[in-house]
């Protein structure tokens, strides 16, 4: 992986729709050959950012710029980019093979038959090749859409929620395909709501919240920032209530296991003895916060309230 080359380079771009700011002075840089995960709550600006990278939307006029695959022009649709939009866009009346052929030709691929056959076989769609799109299940249609995005061997693949609505088997098949794209040298940007997938797959995680960048980096570096402030415990005993223990900020109860977030100054040894006083401790694990946890910290209801108060002020300052 060559980190010095950025496939996508965004500097302080803003996009407003009427009164609403969808993306607010956003900057990011996607290294070549990486898998770059976009996370963020619904309506936070993920799709808008992806569309700007796709040049479907133009950012607001201003000092910002978007450089994709080394080009800054906003004129041409790019054959070197493959795009899977969030909502599936397939002509219902066309047959699978016809539609793949159409998209391949649009991307300028001339000898498309081997590629089409290869992908259909790989994603287990050979039997559906002559079916009309309207006869496909949702998962199958999504796979067809995926093929149409990657058929022309793009250098940059942008996938908006590629795993949503897929069963575990198809999720695995598609994940394998995405990893394979990277092995072949492609750079992959995808957005997801599934923190597990993002944690396992992404070299870089980028979180956008209310149009602003809140996280950007490798998973390790992000977890580093949030420190080792999480303890997973399991305690047997009647008088046990973790809320009452000093130094515990937040409790997430998973039933058998509780996840405790502790203040930075809390000594874990003291916490352990406090827990032992409550009952029999069967599990005690110091952990880094999961991406899920970090996500909730940033975008959960408490954070939402805080953000509603602070973000407009910051915007005014800017």
């Amino acid at each position: 992986m060559n980190k010095s080359v950025s496939i996508v380079d965004i500097e302080t771009i803003t996009k407003t729709f009427g009164q609403q700011t969808a993306v607010d002075s956003l900057s990011l840089s996607v290294p070549e050959g990486s898998i770059y995960g976009f996370i963020g709550p619904n309506g936070s600006g993920k799709t808008t950012t992806l569309r700007m990278i796709m040049r479907i939307y133009h950012p607001d006029p201003g000092p910002g710029r978007i450089r994709v695959l080394g080009e800054e022009s906003f004129d041409a649709a790019n054959d070197r980019i493959g795009y899977l939009p969030e909502e599936r866009g397939l002509y219902k009346k066309m047959r699978v093979r016809e539609i793949l052929r159409f998209y391949a030709e649009l991307k300028g691929l001339r000898d498309f038959k081997p590629a089409v056959d290869g992908w259909l076989d790989r994603l287990d769609l050979t039997d559906a090749a002559n079916k009309k799109v309207e006869a496909l299940s949702k998962g199958m249609a999504q796979k067809v859409q995926f093929i149409s995005a990657v058929l022309a061997q793009p250098e940059l693949v942008i996938l908006d929620e590629p795993f949503t609505g897929l069963d575990p088997v198809n999720t695995d098949v598609l994940r394998e395909a995405v990893l394979d794209l990277r092995r072949r040298g492609a750079t992959v940007i995808f957005s997801t709501h599934d923190m597990g997938v993002a944690e396992k797959m992404c070299d870089f995680v980028f979180m956008i919240f209310k149009g602003r960048k809140v996280l950007d980096g490798t998973l390790e570096s992000i977890q580093e920032t949030y420190g080792q402030d999480t303890v997973r415990v399991s305690v047997e005993g009647n008088g046990y209530d973790p809320h009452t223990i000093e130094g515990v900020e937040k409790v997430t109860d998973f039933g058998r296991i509780q996840e405790l977030r502790i203040t930075p100054e809390t000594d874990t040894q003291e916490l352990l003895s406090a827990l032992m006083r409550c009952g029999r401790v069967t599990h005690f694990e110091l952990a880094r916060p999961s991406l899920h946890d970090i996500f909730v910290r940033i975008a959960g209801p408490e954070a939402q309230e805080a953000a509603d108060q602070t973000i407009p002020l910051e915007a005014d300052d800017a």
Binding site: R51, M54, I56, Y57, D75, A76, A77, N78, D79, I81, G82, Y83, P85, E87, R88, G89, L90, Y91, K92, K93, M94, F102, Y103, E105, L106, K107, G108, Q145, S148, A149
Partner: protein, 439 residues
């Protein structure tokens, strides 16, 4: 350019390969031809049961003439074919003399009416007493035809002819005029509708050909209607397909590969292809049908290229407007609302075509046919009416239409670019104008 063609080919195939297209291609000749076939067929399939009609002749001088004319008609006038093929195609009129049954004329009429209601007779005729020599009271000088089937007018028309002929004769006799003399004196002067006299190749003056008024009317009208139909069938599905692409989010995928302008242009070229396919089918069909029918000289061969040119431009012009509408709405219902004003412009030539055909060279006709949205249909209409129009007019028309089409395609492209990705509420005219101006 290659991408535009890929889009155009898909659009063309999507339109032409549907059942709806094949049906609409077949529908027009079936409707038009079918109408003629059915009418020809039905002409001889009338009710031929005898019609019994009572005649109350208060003049006492006309009944015999009516009865005699009916007898003659029943023997010779209601058949078609000869010998064994002779076939009755009209009902016989069986005339029955009726008498005044009461002092009250209304009473007599009522009794006869009752007979009609009881189906003893089909209708009855009361010839007023002063018909031959009208006096002051017009009701006494008229013939009243009573029936309960007022739409069946064969007998009434036939009787009117017989009664008038005979009454005229009686009146001539009354003033000692020979009917033949009167007929000669009042004979109508025929006015022939001829073309111009010209020289043939050897310098001899040729006789002017008699104009065929029906052909002179039908050919321009046919061309205009054909263009209207082809434009509608080819261009209006474009709106539907744009709405589909927008609603199914196909546009988003497409715009990853083509620019909005390429996409729209590709779609426009696709439907121009569709329209040319239709026009070819119809023009070739019409050419053979007209030649087969022996009216080959009326086929407007010299206008075929103008037709194709104007039609392609009309499809581009209206197609770009339809595409812009499709891109700026969020569902078909909204699209229909925006379509209404456009449709009014499209069908406007239909309101004026008759005036234009009658006076193709009048200033108003020239001006209307140079109004770009109406040019394709009205110009071809004027060109098809002898003697045609000066060449500068269609050329100017083409130039103006090309200009308008370019403006429309450009404006539609801008509306398309913004609208195609807009979800939720559709745009209003003001917003669309803003998109056009701002880009």
């Amino acid at each position: 350019m290659r991408k535009i063609i890929v889009v155009a080919v898909r659009e063309y195939q999507a339109a032409v390969k549907t059942k709806a297209f094949i049906i609409s291609i077949l529908a027009m000749p079936v409707f038009m031809g079918g109408g003629i076939v059915v009418q020809t067929f039905m002409r001889d399939r009338v009710d031929t049961t005898d019609k019994k009609i009572a005649v109350l002749d208060q003049t006492g001088r006309l009944y015999d003439a009516v009865a005699e004319a009916a007898r003659e008609r029943n023997e010779t006038g209601i058949f078609r074919g000869e010998g064994e093929d002779r076939k009755k195609i009209r009902p016989r009129f069986l005339i029955e003399q009726s008498e005044v049954t009461s002092d009250d004329p209304a009473r007599t009429a009522f009794e006869l009416s009752e007979r009609v209601r009881n189906e003893q007779i089909f209708a009855f005729l009361i010839v007023g007493p002063d018909v031959v020599k009208p006096g002051d009271d017009p009701t006494r000088a008229r013939v009243a035809y009573h029936s309960n089937t007022p739409t069946y007018d064969d007998f009434k028309n036939w009787a009117a002819g017989v009664l008038n002929r005979h009454t005229h004769q009686l009146r001539f006799q009354a003033v000692d005029l020979e009917p033949e003399v009167v007929q000669q004196a009042t004979q109508r002067v025929p006015v022939a509708n001829l073309g111009l006299v010209s020289l043939d190749e050897e310098g001899r003056i040729t006789e002017a050909e008699e104009s065929n008024e029906i052909a002179n009317m039908l050919v321009p009208m046919g061309l205009m209607m054909l263009m209207f139909m082809v434009v509608m069938v080819a261009a209006s599905p474009l709106m539907q397909s744009v709405v589909e692409e927008k609603m199914q989010r196909i546009a988003e995928v497409l715009l990853g590969s083509v620019t909005p302008f390429q996409l729209m242009l590709g779609k426009l070229l696709g439907i121009v292809g569709v329209s040319l396919t239709m026009a070819t089918i119809y023009l070739v069909g019409a050419f053979f049908a007209i030649h087969q029918a022996g009216y080959g000289q009326f086929f407007p061969t010299h206008l075929v290229w103008w037709f194709v040119l104007f039609q392609a431009m009309a499809v581009l012009l209206y197609g770009s407007i339809f595409a812009a509408i499709g891109a700026s709405v969020s569902d078909m219902k909204e699209a229909q609302n925006l379509m209404t004003p456009v449709m009014l412009v499209v069908i406007a030539p239909m309101f004026v075509w008759l005036n234009v055909v009658k006076e193709p060279l009048a200033t108003s006709s020239v001006v209307m046919s140079l109004f770009p949205p109406a040019t394709p249909m009205l110009m071809i209409l004027r060109q098809a009416v002898p003697p045609g129009v000066p060449l500068w007019q269609p050329l100017l028309g083409v130039a103006l239409v090309i200009l308008t089409t370019m403006v429309c395609v450009f404006a539609a492209g801008r509306i398309f670019r913004v609208g195609i990705l807009m979800q939720g509420k559709g745009a209003n005219i003001g917003e669309m104008m803003r998109w056009v101006l701002r880009g």
